[in-house]
Symmetry: C2
Subunit: 272 residues, 2 copies
């Protein structure tokens, strides 16, 4: 069991994992380099632990040290207790849910490993917004996608904001980087997947006509909000599919489009 270590100096080097959390550019470089990520809020911290991530340390305000007593008792890493004011000085923001954990990253699996057992895979190209990455992971997990593949320029699913928006779903769905991009897409096809490119383009096949839930193995490709999939990614697909639009609306936001497509791919799957 971990003892609670009260820290009063915001410059205490033991709190280094938590410094400058509002500096996105800095954290994007630091966290992968230092092999850590930050889980924020009780629920997310618990889910990270349940998913087998190892804790480096925890930073709690007194209230949360009390609420999370069982986590503290089970912790094999140091647990620092700080006042809300010190938490704000260290992190750079007012930590509403006064529970942060610094967790160890695990090595990412290779794409081939992820594909071996999966039947429904989401493939994201150039989705570099942390909120969108998190939202897509939450829907992918909830709606039964087996895995997520990311182009090398997609944002980090373990960045604090992604983890939070996903409600911890980034821990539940296996994911890998698809590198090299675009050639990796051929490997997905070689693994037995039909590559569907989601686009609002009018010449694409309506999703319900494509009936992806009847396909044996499906890789559903999604692009970023606004730009969508690149022409090269579209060319590398087997079929372009669209969600039919009404009322003259030209598109859904990427989170809504992903949710609808995952539902169409996963629901009514053979044997369920």
């Amino acid at each position: 069991m971990a003892e609670l270590i009260t820290v009063e100096d915001p410059d205490d080097p033991r709190l280094h994992d938590y410094t400058g959390l509002t500096d996105v550019e800095l954290r994007r470089r630091r966290e992968p380099a230092e092999g850590l990520f930050i889980a924020e809020g009780e629920k997310v911290v618990r889910r990270a632990l349940d998913s087998g991530y190892r804790m480096r340390s925890m930073l709690l305000t007194p209230k949360w040290a009390d609420v999370m007593r069982d986590v503290v008792e089970a912790a094999e890493a140091p647990v620092y207790v700080v006042s809300p004011a010190v938490a704000e000085q260290v992190t750079g923001y007012h930590v509403h849910r006064g529970a942060l954990a610094s967790m160890c990253r695990k090595p990412l699996p290779a794409a081939g490993e992820v594909l071996r057992t999966a039947r429904r895979v989401a493939v994201m190209e150039s989705v570099n917004d942390h909120t969108n990455i998190g939202a897509v992971f939450r829907s992918a997990a909830a709606l039964g996608m087996d895995a997520v593949l990311l182009s090398p320029d997609c944002a980090d699913p373990l960045y604090r904001r992604s983890v939070k928006v996903s409600m911890g779903a980034v821990f539940a769905v296996p994911y890998a980087r698809l590198d090299p991009w675009f050639d990796g897409l051929a490997a997905v096809r070689a693994a037995g997947f039909t590559l569907l490119a989601l686009t609002p383009g009018e010449q694409a096949t309506p999703l319900d006509e494509a009936a992806p839930h009847r396909m044996e193995r499906v890789a559903l490709m999604l692009g970023a909000e606004g730009t969508g999939l690149s022409a090269k990614a579209m060319d590398a697909s087997d079929l372009r599919v669209r969600i039919p639009m009404a009322h003259g609306v030209d598109s859904l936001n990427v989170g809504a489009a992903a949710a609808v497509a995952f539902y169409a791919v996963a629901t009514g799957r053979p044997g369920s």
Copy 2:
């Protein structure tokens, strides 16, 4: 054609429609009372006009006066041109897309009127977050819902943030307040609608089994993020439906859940 009127004094009373835009509480009271709403950004302003809303005035920075020359020329209301600095002093924030229009509200139709011709209706209970209201309207419009009904305590779809997040979809889908709540739900049923209550509850019928797209008239009821539908609203429904969840995830966010449910309700509708 409107002439451009250059204004240099942020306290000029002609700019009163645009003051204090960041004060949500103030604007929530003022806008309905004064019969106006604010459309922000070129695309949204154009959509409001295309949907038949009458303009009270427009506030543009010089760059946008140029880009929107055709709108300015067609305008029958005064068009004020201000520097970006004055725009910020008046509104309280840095107006990235330097185009704001103050538009006249129209009287809301009665629920009965909206229901007369509709076949697929979304019913929202206590959704009081402007971003969520906007997101749900965008998906409702895109996915072919015919109308939206709101409990009296739902947020205003014409609040600036709702309009923006909806990308103007709040102009495309007819909506009405369902008052009194909950008794209004009986009127929806009397109009021939099957009332489906969307819930994550495990005892509910999976959405694909319920096959709402085969129903003649469907009212899909949605609650707020977190709390969901009230027990009384659930009791007033004909059937509770759920989106099946995987990977131990307990829920989708309200925008994603709405999009999936609208797709399930609207796709494969008889005759299409």
